[in-house]
Symmetry: C2
Subunit: 346 residues, 2 copies
């Protein structure tokens, strides 16, 4: 597994995407977020996606150069049509609009449809938090999660993200699937030939199982919450309603569902209290919670965003290891497009 610097990955990704027809702005936004995911330790959301995006462009599912259209708008809200451009570009523009509108209107809600794979929600809520606001984001996609007590796929993994600005502490950023785990984790176990760590899925007959292949033979992922899974299910349903119905992207169980429906919100802290004070109090919350004595099998308390921030520090120093198969796929795409990988790496 070769290791690369973030800058090398960024140049490779940008080179490929521009050759695929992306504008410089698009290629920059998409690659920056993909490489950020790799740095954060979420390789499933990193440059591994480039080969998938190339296929999407060749099939006409991703349309480089698409404008993000404002369909309906008020001073504090907007409904966007992503016109099937890059998901990250739609997401980036939605966050920018959310920030601008919350700057003058305190709170803003931006929804988007016809939006391709938006990748990590944390990227957008962090953008909002970096502007002194509280960022909230949700998304839906295709059905793969069962309702609590049910067998059939009805919901998507429905991710949810909150980000809050801090002063000296690592910014608080939560980014979770509302299913017990993301589909990517199950695929990884399948490829490794391993069982899942717990019975996180059901087979096609509704029996709990830790065999990852059962998911791909008509099974479903459980909503998160275990024996109180109605809580994860309830939040998942709320996310489907906010991003699928209010956001006009369609709910998860629709047969023609693709891409992500997006719900994004910004809350301008200065309308409630001085931003400095808010940040100091966030720091204090994080520090105090981390002081809790750990349970027997834990080493320490980690707050949301902390594992990613540690990974980033380490990978900036040591480089990002890319799996052989991922690198092969990337170089194959580069060859097809006559992109000079060696040049990007130097």
């Amino acid at each position: 597994m070769p290791a690369f610097t973030a800058h090398q990955l960024y140049r490779v990704g940008k080179g490929i995407l521009m050759e695929l027809g992306a504008t410089e702005e698009e290629a920059e936004i998409v690659t920056r977020f993909l490489v950020k995911a790799n740095l954060a330790g979420h390789d499933s959301h990193g440059v591994i996606r480039i080969a998938q995006y190339a296929k999407g462009i060749w099939k006409g599912e991703i349309v480089p150069g698409s404008a993000t259209e404002v369909v309906v708008e008020t001073p504090s809200s907007a409904l966007l049509n992503g016109n099937w451009g890059f998901g990250q570009v739609t997401g980036f523009r939605a966050s920018k609009i959310a920030i601008e509108k919350a700057r003058s209107s305190t709170v803003s809600v931006i929804c988007a449809y016809n939006c391709n794979h938006i990748d990590r929600l944390a990227d957008y809520t962090m953008m909002i938090a970096e502007n002194g606001m509280i960022g909230i984001a949700m998304a839906n996609s295709v059905k793969i999660v069962s309702p609590y007590g049910g067998i059939d796929r009805m919901l998507s993994t429905g991710p949810l993200s909150y980000a809050f600005p801090t002063e000296k502490e690592v910014p608080f950023v939560l980014d979770i699937a509302t299913s017990v785990c993301a589909e990517g984790k199950i695929r990884v176990s399948l490829h490794k030939g391993e069982k899942l760590p717990h019975k996180w899925i059901i087979d096609k007959n509704g029996q709990l199982t830790d065999n990852p292949s059962d998911l791909y033979e008509g099974g479903a992922i459980l909503p998160f919450g275990g024996e109180v899974g109605y809580k994860g299910f309830g939040i998942g349903l709320a996310i489907d309603a906010l991003s699928g119905i209010l956001g006009r992207s369609g709910v998860a169980y629709h047969d023609n569902k693709r891409g992500n429906g997006v719900f994004m919100e910004a809350i301008n802290i200065e309308s409630f209290m001085p931003l400095d004070q808010f940040k100091r109090e966030m720091d204090e919350l994080i520090r105090t919670v981390k002081k809790s004595r750990p349970m027997p099998r834990f080493k320490e308390i980690m707050v949301p965003g902390e594992p990613e921030s540690r990974s980033e520090r380490q990978r900036i120093k040591k480089g990002v290891y890319i799996a052989e198969k991922t690198w092969e796929e990337l170089t194959d795409v580069a060859k097809t497009l006559s992109v000079d990988i060696e040049k990007c790496l130097n």
Copy 2:
């Protein structure tokens, strides 16, 4: 256990509260929400609370007649000081302001501090949903929940509620603690001398246990999510930041923390799409999800708000059974205040 009609309970509650110094408006709001909780099947949030509120008033912790002050305000936000009036009155006024502001500004965020026990968040989000909007509410209170992987109490049970208007289906209303269960459930098990259904708490040394008394001997309730409890913990932390820091009520671990910090939000659907269409699509989402085949040990799929709605229909028909001890406490308070219970019941 005597059974009463909702109207009887309402008259008893209102009679007692007015004798305790509540204005007619306050007594009406508080009793209406308490009786609604009984009808919904959540007796822990119902008229059982009246004796507790009486003690609160006698101790000076609840101040009947308090004005709800607007401390800071924009066209789409407000920070309220409840001045330690009845929590439900602060909550009711916050929802009204949220609705008014979202009517003209599409989205609104209202926070409140110095707020006594606000009771079920569903009451407020439902108020918002009845006005054709999406209602979101969160609250924090005193620490009783451990961080994921930690032993010490740091967070409150941090409830979270979402309500969406529907056309023909029962309104979608989620109202959950972000701990694995509410403290009230553990107290009920303790009083019945029963074990908890699962190891939902830890003892003072951080060992998982199903013995409810361990909670009251220095233990803590776990955040919800089981082996992915970092998700419930993360949402709980976000709620503490929104209601405790942005809402100025103080975070849960503060030693002098009391009452509820409140975060409330309204989103005006009409700014995104016709309300009728939204309601029809919510109906379709609910109906489709309920069509999932149930898992072996389940009879059907229930959506958020459905168990409460069924309980309400049944209890309106058959009456509300009040536990002997609760009724004794209520009649004791009534006697102390020379409230004629018999008259209220006729």
